[in-house]
């Protein structure tokens, strides 16, 4: 079981962590909410929780709690520019259905 990230995403995460001045890595996860069941969590991490799993890719620590990992195993995090907007995107193979806006999903 693992999660990964693209080189572009790794460069941005490292930049944001450096800019923030603290933090050990990036938390990826899910929480139940939103218009279609689940929503992604993407947060800076200062402290690890007990059930956290840590993956390292392109020099970035990706931290996922055990429960979330069931839903996002195999996910590749990407950093995307769309016109003037830019941000992170989960390429999650477990997703069967998304809401129109893509902010929440079903497995």
């Amino acid at each position: 079981m693992a999660v990964t990230l693209t080189e572009a995403a790794a460069a941005r995460v490292q930049h944001f962590l450096q800019n923030r001045g603290k933090g050990i890595g990036l938390r990826l996860g899910v929480k139940t909410s939103g218009c279609s069941g689940m929503a992604y969590v993407i947060e800076f991490v200062d402290d690890l929780n007990q059930d956290d799993k840590v993956f390292e890719d392109h020099g970035v620590k990706l931290i996922v709690d055990a429960k979330s990992l069931l839903y996002i195993d195999g996910t590749e995090l990407d950093f995307v520019k769309e016109g003037l907007n830019e941000g992170f995107q989960f390429n999650n193979p477990n997703v069967s259905d998304e809401c129109g806006c893509g902010e929440s999903f079903h497995v």
Binding site: V13, H15, N19, A39, I42, E43, F44, N85, E103, S104
Partner: protein
């Protein structure tokens, strides 16, 4: 697929509920918008990659044009193209005409009313014009962030008065923006450099923009920026540096004495380019095509250029000196100098500023963007993306503010959940005869006793003229400004002597702490009521012991020894009761003494009247 941004730990928002906030630098010449994404503040650009939006609005009969394209049309359509409307914000027409006698606009309405400009779309106020600029920036932000903007922090000059600030808020409302707060421009620049979390001290913000120069001296104390002084020159900026080069070209006999509109624009652009080139090069080559198609060229070196602009730079330093003097500071008492405005890129400006303050100014953030960036950082906090932050900046007062009265009671002046800004006053009086000073203890909290509240500040009012207890009128005013800053002023009304203090009630106050304090006030409501009753009775007891005690000492001869001993005994009993915790017992004893001393009081009254009348003729009365 929506693109996601990194949140602070535990701050991920549900989809469609993300808290998007922007910072807006609504400038006289240029405006910008910035936002914090993934913890990083950046200015947002338009489709062409431009961050700067010229603060220019052009009215067409059925549409409005904002920014660069409007600026380009200024010459052909001067009446409908409004430049630098910020100068008219909150200003009456006669005031505007007095300050700027040579404006190309046709003004409408009464001279005492807010200035309005006649355009093809009717009379427009500075508020409406600014609203167009804000609308344009809001659209840009929503386009870039692909989400609705929920709130904005808008910056204003430190010297803006209430009317100008209110006008700015009105403009934002017209533009459909929710103003989280107005922020002083120099404060925003200081926040961008993170100075708000740094050590306390004085900060100078040197802001040389396109057309205006502002110097502000701030003091950071307990997490609050206070503006100590402001100064500057409303007609000094980058445009003057360009003009210096144009004038030089004229002295070189390269240009005709009067320039056609086209040539004027070309020369202005070339001069600006030359100025920018000389910021990083030793010399520049200027080529200009005249109206008849012939080309003229000139070589301008840095040394010559710097000698030309030296007088302009000197003017900024004179304003700095004055601002320091107003703040009663010396240059070496300034801890940090922040550079704002595009013209601070000119090397000579930097050099002179660093010589003047004898320290390297902060300049790592783009000086055109630093104000917007600071505003966006503040907006991100205010919209609630950073709960861990020690800044609890709420628009309502989270806990009641009050002061300590006799007996350790807390008298609340401004109750909690009052929206700010707010000012409330209450009158207090002296407790003892001839009392010449009063200690004011400012507290925060919901409990009845001061010991259960949070102490904010203490100060004293001196030079109260000698009066009988209760005769002095001391007006205590609590004022909380839009930034949550509390000023408490105490004034003795007959003489006008006053004393005041400023504190930030939310400083160092965590949200948890507020909740704990609120919970405690509910849980202890019953106990608190009892405590208040007891404290009140004790104060009353003390007052009677004081006044009756004095009377007994003065007019002992009016009483039989038995009567005197009885009253003295009752007073002693009261003093004992006041040390215990039974409010009812104290109350009963006070009533008993009241009854027992009535004859004595009457005897004193007779005595003093007799004394006053003694030795006087009947017809004198």
């Amino acid at each position: 697929m929506a693109l996601l941004q990194i949140s602070e730990p535990g701050q991920t928002q549900a989809p469609h509920q993300r808290r998007i906030a922007v910072g807006i630098d609504l400038g006289t010449t240029n405006s910008l918008v910035a936002s914090v994404r993934s913890g990083e503040a950046n200015v947002l650009t338009d489709q062409d990659g431009q961050a700067i939006l010229p603060s220019v609005v052009r009215y067409h009969s059925d549409s409005v044009e904002v920014g660069q394209s409007a600026l380009l049309a200024a010459e052909q359509d001067p009446e409908n193209t409004i430049i630098s409307a910020k100068r008219f914000m909150g200003r009456a027409l006669d005031d505007v005409l007095k300050t700027y006698p040579e404006l190309p606009y046709q003004f409408a309405g009464d001279s005492k009313e807010l200035a309005r400009i006649n355009t093809v779309q009717g009379a427009k106020s500075a508020i409406e014009i600014s609203a167009e600029i804000l609308k344009s920036l809001k659209q840009r932000a929503e386009h870039v962030l692909v989400d609705e903007v929920q709130g904005a922090v808008i910056t204003v000059p430190a010297y803006f008065d209430d009317a100008q600030r209110q006008s700015t808020k009105d403009a934002a409302r017209l533009a459909g923006l929710n103003v989280l707060r107005l922020l002083n421009e120099p404060t925003a620049a200081a926040i961008a450099y993170g100075l708000d979390s740094g050590s306390e001290g004085q900060i100078a913000v040197f802001d040389l923009g396109g057309g205006t120069f502002d110097i502000s001296i701030l003091r950071l104390e307990k997490g609050v920026f206070e503006v100590l002084s402001t100064g500057g020159d409303s007609a000094l900026g980058g445009d003057d540096f360009d003009q210096v080069i144009i004038d030089w070209l004229k002295t070189q006999h390269l240009l005709p004495a009067t320039l056609s509109p086209r040539l004027r624009r070309v020369v202005k652009e070339k001069a600006k380019l030359a100025k920018e080139t000389l910021s990083s090069n030793e010399h520049t080559h200027i080529v200009i095509e005249l109206d008849d198609g012939t080309q003229v060229s000139a070589e301008l070196d840095k040394t010559t250029y710097e000698s030309l602009i030296e007088p302009l730079v000197k003017r900024t330093l004179i304003a700095c000196r004055r601002a320091l003097k107003d703040a009663e500071l010396k240059a070496d008492e300034i801890k940090e100098v922040v550079l704002v405005g595009g013209s601070t890129r000119v090397p000579l400006v930097r050099q002179r500023v660093s010589e003047f303050f004898d320290k390297q100014p902060l300049s790592s953030i783009d000086p055109d963007k630093v104000v917007a960036i600071g505003a966006s950082i503040q907006a991100d906090i205010l919209i609630g993306n950073k709960p861990d932050s020690d800044m609890v900046l709420l628009d309502v007062i989270p806990l009641s503010l009050g002061l300590e009265t006799m007996g350790g009671l807390c008298e609340k002046i401004i109750s909690r959940n009052t929206t700010i800004p707010v000012a409330k006053a209450q009158e207090f009086t002296t407790f003892k005869d001839g009392q010449s000073a009063m200690a004011i203890h400012v507290v925060q909290g919901e409990r009845e006793m001061v010991q259960d509240c949070r102490s904010l500040a203490r100060f004293e009012l001196h030079d109260i003229p000698p009066m009988a207890a209760g005769a002095a009128h001391i007006r205590v005013t609590f004022q909380v400004d839009a930034d949550g800053l509390l000023s408490v002023t105490a004034m003795e009304k007959s003489t006008g002597v006053q004393s005041s203090i400023q504190v930030k009630p939310s400083y160092g106050l965590e949200e948890d702490e507020i909740l704990t304090m609120l919970k405690a006030s509910v849980e202890h409501a019953e106990v608190d009521v009892q405590a208040r009753r007891l404290a009140e009775q004790r104060v009353e007891a003390e007052r009677i012991i004081e006044s009756l005690g004095n009377a007994l000492a003065q007019d002992k001869n009016l009483l039989q020894e038995a009567e005197f001993n009885k009253l003295a005994g009752e007073l002693e009993k009261l003093a004992q009761l006041a040390k215990q915790d039974d409010a009812d017992a104290i109350k009963q004893q006070i009533e008993a003494i009241d009854a027992a001393s009535q004859d004595f009081a009457a005897a004193r009254m007779d005595h003093s009247i007799r004394k006053a009348l003694q030795g006087q003729q009947v017809d004198e009365i």
